[in-house]
Symmetry: C2
Subunit: 171 residues, 2 copies
DNA sequence: ACGATTCCTTTGACATTTCAAATATCAGCT
DNA sequence: AGCTGATATTTGAAATGTCAAAGGAATCGT
């Protein structure tokens, strides 16, 4: 009950706030934000409940899963859109749990490469399968064509935003 | 090593199931997530640089701006999609900065109501105007019709997700 | 009344987040 | 070699995020 209310009453209230009229860009942004927040919180809950893992850990392991040889921490930082300092802590905890292994190549000893252990690989594969199911489940009521369309349209939003960043752009 | 090989073979099968034919829902989700992350990070940077404020503070003040009489912390928690414990800390800091005010109505002394001070109202109005400009700027390259279309289509995604939350089964 | 339940908020332990400053290493120039 | 600047990671402070447990306060049933 309280949860259902929380869903219906969301951030979009700001829309009518400032000048009384709401610009479409602001409206879209608030809806993107609340929708993303809603879904990530659900995924967080499930990852925690079923696997005792966090979403950032899942994201990080997802990157390593695609690169069997491992990735440098800086590269991990870019791909996960997480700051360098943050990656350090995430990797530390995952290493302590035995899912990740850190090593420093002799070629360049400034670098630290992280890669999944066997245990980490198995663990992630299990989570990833569930993660994919959850998303299909949560989007089950959405027309499949709309899903594909949204993918490319949101791509346009992403490109536009990338081109108007104050600092550097990437991806 | 024979054991390790057996593991790797099995995992390869999982790999293709998990990532090889990545389902449209997963693709869409990853794009929504990265786009939202990109834009919020930019907004965070600008709020910090230009106003010394954080995004959660902005969100919280946005809700109070709409309700001149203030809101109970539990209501604030629902509307901002932030947990109760988190609201406590946010309100404490904003109160220390003089932007909001806390009071306990005699009618129900379990309750704490937060409302914007005059200073907070002025401060938020300034930020909100900039915030709206930033969004128009970042979405400047997107066709206006696409922006409206996206708003309603993402609404469909939101509704679908809302109907498939783990907690929503009761009721 | 009164005990049990429910409601609202705070607290506590941790994980994540950002930024800035510090550290460590490498590569190039003199 | 030795200096300098660029690169890679770690560290530290402060804020935000989660959940679970604890607290006070109101309400309900008996």
């Amino acid at each position: 009950m309280a949860e259902a209310d929380a869903i219906n009453v969301d951030l979009e209230i700001i829309v009518h706030g400032v000048q009384g009229r709401s610009k479409p860009e602001l409206r879209l942004w608030l809806r993107m934000l609340s929708t993303t927040k809603l879904i990530s919180q659900e995924i967080r809950r499930r990852l925690r409940a079923e696997f005792g893992a966090t979403l950032p850990q899942f994201d990080l392991m997802a990157q390593l899963y695609r690169e069997k040889d491992g990735l440098r921490l800086g590269e991990l930082s870019k791909r996960t859109m997480v700051t360098n300092g943050n990656v350090t802590g995430l990797v530390e905890r995952l290493e302590a749990d035995g899912y990740i292994q850190r090593l420093t190549p002799d070629a360049d000893r400034r670098v630290t490469v992280a890669k999944l252990t066997d245990s980490g690989t198995i663990f992630f594969a299990t989570m990833a399968a569930a993660h994919e199911r959850w998303l299909q489940e949560m989007m089950a009521d959405v027309d499949p064509r709309m899903i594909s369309g949204l993918w490319s349209e949101i791509g346009a939003v992403k490109v536009s935003a990338s081109n108007h960043l104050s600092g550097a752009a990437f991806e």
